[in-house]
């Protein structure tokens, strides 16, 4: 497939609707470029040399969505291009541009999610079961990475609570653990470039998992998730640092104790189990008071980080009485 970059509009001029339109235009442009065929080959190579861009979004499917009152308004959306080419998905390489290049081998269909642990009965859901379980909603969320950069992403999914209700967890299920897909042949970069023990594991307290903001996510910009963004199904937690939002989930395990989580195991002093966005608690290596918004020019990136990433009204009550410096 031929890849080309559309003419750049200054990001300051992009409103959310324009951004989406630009993306649609891009898709049309790709089809047009494919028709031009061999003649364009040279130009494409040159374009790649100047600005290497690859995409792993081989078979996007449009998703039927409905409006959600939980969507974030008043933010300029990050472009589809940036959301799909600036990823932390270490199984596919540690560089932000690696997942877009390397995630092509992720076998997203058929796909099953196993439910186990403290449940009435272990279950298995296919990706099609999950897509039909509840109407899919458009949810724009701010996304704040622990590395102090941020995006605004139009996700597609429904509240994880809808799924958990179908799992019949036992009263002893105090926590939920998510395990990501791992195959060292498909994801050889994870072993070669890091000393992390795979698969990726993340977890939530049950009340956090049941919070309406917690999104079981299947798409972005109205289409199925590109592989590098955690296809075919992932979690999105807008009030926590991005690494809490596990990608490409294959197992959901209900447990009584706090589960071990990947980054917390790697460096417990740097990545807490809760990892709520909190401008008052610095990462040992940098301040969390400000963040860099992705896609803006270098002089316009800095902005103030908000408590709970601006979702205080929806989530703060879950942490009343907790020392958020201790439980960071």
């Amino acid at each position: 497939m031929l890849i080309a970059k559309p003419p750049d509009i200054p990001s300051s001029e992009i409103t959310s609707r324009d951004a989406y339109f630009r993306y649609l235009n891009r898709r049309r442009f790709l089809k047009g470029a494919a028709a031009v065929g061999a003649a364009a080959m040279g130009a494409d190579r040159l374009a790649r040399l100047v600005s290497p861009r690859t995409t792993v979004h081989a078979d996007p499917t449009k998703l039927q969505t409905v409006y959600s009152p939980l969507t974030t308004t008043g933010e300029q959306l990050t472009t589809f291009d940036d959301i799909t080419h600036y990823n932390n998905f270490y199984e596919f390489g540690v560089d932000k541009s690696d997942p877009a290049k390397n995630a092509g081998g992720l076998p997203t269909r058929p796909w099953t999610v196993k439910v186990e642990g403290k449940v009435a009965k272990p279950l298995t859901f296919s990706i099609d079961d999950l897509l039909k379980l509840h109407p899919l909603e458009d949810r724009v969320y701010r996304h704040r990475c622990v590395e102090a950069w941020s995006m605004v992403i139009p996700w597609v999914g429904y509240s994880l609570s809808e799924f958990i209700k179908q799992c019949n967890p036992l009263p002893s299920a105090n926590y939920v653990q998510f395990l990501s897909y791992y195959d060292r042949h498909v994801e050889k970069w994870g072993g070669a470039e890091t000393s992390i023990v795979w698969p990726y594991s993340e977890g939530l307290r049950m009340d956090e998992a049941m919070n309406p903001l917690t999104l079981l996510t299947f798409g972005l910009y109205g289409e199925t998730l590109p592989n590098q963004d955690g296809a075919p199904v992932r979690i999105v937690l807008p009030w926590k640092y991005g690494f809490k939002s596990a990608k490409s989930i294959v197992t959901v395990r209900f447990i009584d104790k706090q589960p071990p989580t990947t980054w917390n195991e790697q460096a417990p002093n740097e990545y807490g189990f809760y990892s709520n966005v909190n401008p008052d608690v610095d990462h040992p290596r940098w301040s969390q008071k400000t963040e860099r918004r992705i896609g803006l020019p270098f002089y316009a990136q800095r902005r103030t980080t908000l408590m709970f990433n601006g979702y205080t009204d929806q989530v703060a009550s879950m942490y009343t009485g907790m020392n958020l410096r201790k439980y960071f």
Partner: protein
């Protein structure tokens, strides 16, 4: 070496050394530094500093390998100064784009964050080397003192590598390549000295 060839080579080295900076300026002007331009500027300038330090450190061992490579000395000052140039850009990126020129923020960072402390240490070690890089300074100091002072580059390179390791996440091992290269170049010095001594001793026995 012929003067014309030297001029040609120096021009090429200048162009090669300037390329990363030109790339950044071009990217900044056309707003094409990728999704996170601030991080891109910081990473590019830091990586180039370490690479140029490694190349500078390679000159002496290479010259010791063969007398035919003696001419490489003519490039050492240039390369070292370019390493300092990128270290300065790296430092300015931190001052302007990360701390926002806030002095309290910078003091806090240097005190609290060991990777920043180490980065500042590496820069402060390079500073006297850049300041004494002129022919006038070499004469003023005398060759012996100047050589002794400029051994600080070893320490600066080590601090730079530690700064890199402390900056990346635990579990990320990308700094391994530059670490191996710099370690090899530093270890090559005592190793080559030892080999030279042995060769001399053998020659003495043979005589």
């Amino acid at each position: 070496m012929k003067r014309s060839i030297l001029i040609l080579l120096k021009t090429l080295v200048w162009l090669a050394c300037l390329a990363p900076a030109v790339w950044l300026v071009w990217g900044a002007v056309t707003n094409d530094l990728g999704p996170d331009p601030t991080a891109d500027i910081a990473f590019t300038t830091g990586r180039t500093t370490l690479r140029l330090l490694a190349i500078t450190l390679a000159i002496t061992p290479l010259r010791r390998l063969s007398p035919h490579l003696n001419w490489l000395i003519k490039f050492r000052r240039l390369l070292g100064l370019f390493a300092f140039f990128y270290a300065t850009l790296h430092m300015l990126t931190y001052v302007a784009l990360y701390s926002g020129f806030s002095v309290p923020a910078m003091i806090g960072d240097v005190a609290k964050r060991r990777f920043i402390t180490m980065g500042v240490a590496a820069y402060l070690l390079l500073l006297p080397l850049a300041l004494t890089s002129t022919t006038w300074a070499i004469r003023k100091l005398g060759g012996k003192n100047w050589n002794r002072l400029h051994k600080l580059i070893y320490l600066a390179a080590i601090c730079g590598v530690i700064h890199y390791w402390w900056q990346v996440k635990t579990g990320v091992i990308t700094p391994i390549t530059i670490t191996a290269i710099i370690a090899a170049l530093l270890l090559a010095r005592p190793l080559l000295s030892w080999m030279q001594r042995r060769r001399k001793a053998r020659a003495a026995v043979a005589a």
